[in-house]
């Protein structure tokens, strides 16, 4: 079964280790992630100004491309892109005046009014495949790996686009359980990693990372499971700085959820590109005998 797929710019370069295991895993599960033709950068953040139109053009144009293909659902991997595309989609559904102006400006041939549904890969796994079915397909259970799910902001906020409960999300917990890991819940799993502050105040990133990582560690986590390339960068960088700043701080491997998925489905480590991960994941995986 073919799914319209929006990768986003980062997945093609820095976050190959998020995309490649995803494509391979979905194929193993019977789904083909079909890139939307001629997709462009979605803009990463959704413009929060009420009068702003130009910054909505980029995400809406991508949705039009999906509609032109005749598809009704768009799957994304990058949490930032999900947030932007989903919010723009809501705008086109609800705000008639802006919708008309945007359609008129873009002259893409067809009009768009929110016909496509934007979903995250985790939602496809939960709703279209199901945790039971996923469990059946697991060839290499993750040997109770104490993985702490970290959601960050963009998958859960604002409420209109959340893929799970805003206060107490469980989607990653269910996902990890199905893979045979031992999910470690911790209170700071939805706390922001600092996001784009990394370009204006890079020295603050360690302080954003501190409460998140310390909380995960103190709850017994051996690794963190992420969904967003920016969280990966910020937490990875934050970790390296905290080793110097905080005595006794222990660095942890940071995984993308798709890497653990590919590993559990028995697809092997090559497709996961662990060499791009922060926090030396290979040594932990070797320890757990998960690198066969």
């Amino acid at each position: 079964m073919s799914l319209a797929y929006y990768p986003g710019c980062t997945l093609k370069t820095r976050a190959r280790n998020l995309e490649e295991p995803a494509v391979a895993s979905m194929e193993a599960l019977g789904f083909k992630l079909d890139e939307v033709p001629r997709w462009n950068c979605c803009g990463a953040v959704y413009s929060l100004a009420d009068d702003d139109l130009i910054h909505r053009v980029a995400p809406v144009r991508n949705l039009i491309r999906v509609k032109k293909q005749g598809k009704t659902e768009l799957v994304t991997l990058c949490a930032f892109c999900l947030n932007t595309l989903k919010r723009a989609n809501l705008l086109m559904k609800e705000d008639v005046e802006k919708r008309d102006t945007l359609n008129d400006f873009m002259d893409e041939g067809i009009d768009y009014s929110g016909e496509v549904k934007v979903v995250h890969l985790l939602e496809v796994l939960r709703d279209d495949i199901g945790w039971e079915a996923l469990l059946q397909k697991v060839k290499l259970p993750l040997r109770e790996l104490k993985a702490a799910p970290y959601y960050g902001c963009t998958l859960l906020r604002p409420r209109e686009v959340a893929i799970d409960d805003v206060e107490d999300p469980t989607i990653l917990r269910e996902f990890l359980k199905a893979l045979g890991a031992s999910p470690v819940d911790f209170p700071e799993s939805t706390r922001c990693c600092g996001s784009y502050q990394v370009i204006s105040s890079p020295d603050d990133i360690a302080e954003y990372a501190r409460p998140i990582l310390n909380s995960a560690l103190s709850h017994g986590a051996e690794a963190l499971v992420l969904t967003c390339p920016l969280c990966d960068y910020n937490l990875g960088r934050g970790q390296r700085e905290l080793i110097k700043k905080q005595s006794g701080f222990r660095e942890m491997p940071l995984f993308y959820f798709t890497q653990l998925l590919a590993l559990a489905l028995g697809l092997g480590p090559q497709v996961c590109h662990f060499e791009l991960n922060h926090g030396s994941p290979e040594s932990l995986l070797k320890e757990k005998n998960l690198l066969s």
Binding site: T10, T13, R14, V45, D51, G194, S195, Y196
Partner: protein, 135 residues
Amino acid sequence: MSVTISPKRLRREFVKKVKELSGQNLQLCYQCGMCTGNCPAAANMDISPREIIELARLGLEEEIAGSKTVWTCASCLACTVNCPRGFDLSKVMEAIRLLTLRKNIDHVRPEDIPPQQRCELPQIAMVSGLRKFTG
């Protein structure tokens, strides 16, 4: 902190523009402080998010302009999601940022980001940062 409130200092245009750009009714806020309590960046801010709302509806533009609060905000939406009155503080932050950016005054210059960082950062960091900090 002490602030002098007087009709001479109240910038009505500022209040009007903030309301227009954010689409928020500033009167909804009853200063409970949930936003500040949930804000991951609050420790780096000189004026807290809660105080920004109060200053904004009093039209005290100079106080807000002199603070780094809106530029320290990471648009994580923790404030919005936790506000008991359903008030969207992230939009007010954006509105205040835009009032400066739209005057062609940028907060960050791409050339000031160290070249090594430009190589290492994921594209979403550059795109989102330049959207929030440049006009």
